[in-house]
């Protein structure tokens, strides 16, 4: 902490913890006052030294004379000055004790009035944040605090987690966050590796009901009929084309035997119905 006596500029690295105030005395008064104080110190120092030497040398004699004066010989005790002084001391002690209790009570009241006022004024003159940052090991305090605190319990008891989560979800596009930040492929793969899908399906899926539903919706006999029809169609088409090839072979041989040079005229009048219509003739 710095003070107002001008030492702050000598610590450029220090934070401006204490606010600066103007000097209490004007410069015209301060200079003569400093000179007077200096002269007093120069004069007073030898006087004080001499006095101290005299007192030290005369102190034992003075103590003996003072004790003799307080309790002179052959004088009754009740008439001595020492006795009177003791009586006075006792009375004074009683008064002091009583007054001390009053002073304590008065002091408490006074402090109750003064401390807040003083503290406010002190705090007004101090940048407490900078002071803490400069002087306090916050990291250590935080570490110690965290060690002593059960943060989970504190959060569960003091924080409205539902409101926070609701607010966060409302403001976040969770789908986008997950798509950008989560390796979904790895997640799914890990999940599948850790799961027994067969067991999951057996325990959670009504396989029999599902199969029954599929069978109900699929006209299985019709599908089998169509498949069979398709196979038969392929066989019949193949037989027809093979027969046509055999026709050409027979025709070629017969034409060769009959020494024909021109091709046969097989074009028939009209148009085949198979090339005119898209449907069966029944």
């Amino acid at each position: 902490m710095t003070s107002t006596d001008g030492t702050a500029p000598q610590q450029p690295a220090a934070l401006p913890v204490v606010r600066r105030r103007q000097p209490a005395l004007p410069a015209a008064v301060e200079a003569p006052l400093d000179v007077a104080l200096g002269a007093a110190v120069v004069v007073a120092r030898p006087v004080v030294g001499a006095a101290d030497s005299v007192v030290r040398s005369l102190a034992p004699v003075a103590q003996s004379l003072w004790a003799l004066a307080l309790r002179p010989p052959l004088v009754p005790e009740q008439l001595t000055a020492g006795h009177a002084l003791d009586r006075l001391g006792e009375r004074g002690r009683a008064v002091r004790t009583a007054a001390g209790q009053d002073v304590v009570a008065i002091s408490d009241d006074t402090l109750d009035l003064l401390v807040p006022e003083i503290l406010v004024r002190v705090l007004d003159r101090i940048d407490l944040t900078s002071l803490v940052l400069q002087r306090v090991d916050l990291e250590r305090i935080a570490s110690e605090l965290l060690d002593q605190l059960d943060l989970t319990t504190v959060v569960l008891e003091k924080v409205d987690l539902h409101a926070i989560v609701t607010k966060a979800i409302d403001e976040l596009d969770l789908t986008e966050v997950v798509l950008q930040n989560v390796d979904l492929g790895s997640v799914v793969e890990a999940a599948l590796d850790s799961m027994d899908l067969n067991e999951v399906v057996r325990t959670r899926v009504d396989v029999a009901g599902l199969a029954e539903e599929v069978i109900d919706e699929v006209d299985l006999p019709d599908i089998i009929r169509d498949s069979t029809s398709g196979v038969a169609t392929v066989v019949v088409d193949g037989a027809r084309i093979s027969a046509v090839s055999a026709d050409e072979l027979v025709n070629r041989w017969i034409d060769r035997i009959m020494l024909r040079r021109k091709a046969r005229r097989t074009d028939a009048p009209g148009e085949p119905e198979s090339m005119l219509r898209g449907g069966d003739d029944g």
Binding site: I223, A243, E248, R264, M275, G278
Partner: protein, 195 residues
């Protein structure tokens, strides 16, 4: 007979425009064309002897089955009427021949006059048409049926004919052409669920 590979191929899926191409009409747009690509080229051409023989054999098998079935039915009825005195009847051959000939004539007649096909012709993708390319008139169909049932071997004249015509074809100015029956589109598996 023109080679199959010499004929123009039509695009798969029946997306061809509705117009005349090389004297033959192609399927209209958006109409599915179930005729295989390899078979499109000879649609409308007269069929050869092998195809027609197979179709005829199938028809003969049908009529033989029906004829024998008639005899079996007769035996069953006879057994039901007189189970105690039942003896297996025997028909002379001419009865089978007459019955078979009648069945065959009736079968060929109705088939050619009604749809232009018998079962064997349908199986082999054949159709009998007249000299204009239309279905046979009932009388023409009856004459042709009676003739073919009486002398079936005259069918094989088409192997020698330059136009793939049998004797009945020449006499009645008919033709047996490749005309594969077009099946209705089979719905996909997913359509069963949609339904």
């Amino acid at each position: 007979m023109a080679d199959v590979t010499d004929l123009p191929e039509m695009p798969e899926g029946g997306e061809a425009p509705d117009q005349e191409t090389s004297g033959r009409r192609v399927p209209k747009a958006h109409v599915p064309d179930p005729i295989p690509t390899a078979a499109r080229g000879f649609q409308g051409l007269r069929a050869g002897v092998v195809t027609r023989t197979i179709a005829g054999a199938v028809d003969y098998a049908v009529i033989t089955t029906v004829t024998v079935g008639t005899w079996v039915s007769y035996v069953v009825v006879l057994f039901l009427i007189k189970p105690i005195d039942f003896t297996l009847p025997t028909w002379p051959l001419w009865v089978f021949l007459v019955l078979g000939y009648s069945y065959m004539t009736l079968y060929l007649w109705t088939g050619w006059a009604w749809t232009g096909r018998t079962f064997g012709a349908r199986l082999m993708g054949l159709r009998v048409v007249d000299h204009r390319g239309n279905r046979l008139h009932w009388t023409v169909a009856l004459l042709r049926a009676a003739f073919c049932a009486l002398v079936p071997l005259l069918l094989w004249w088409c192997a020698i004919s330059r136009e793939n015509r049998s004797i009945p074809d020449v006499l009645l100015r008919t033709s047996v052409i490749h005309d594969w029956p077009v099946r209705a589109a089979v719905p996909a598996v997913g359509e069963h669920l949609d339904a």
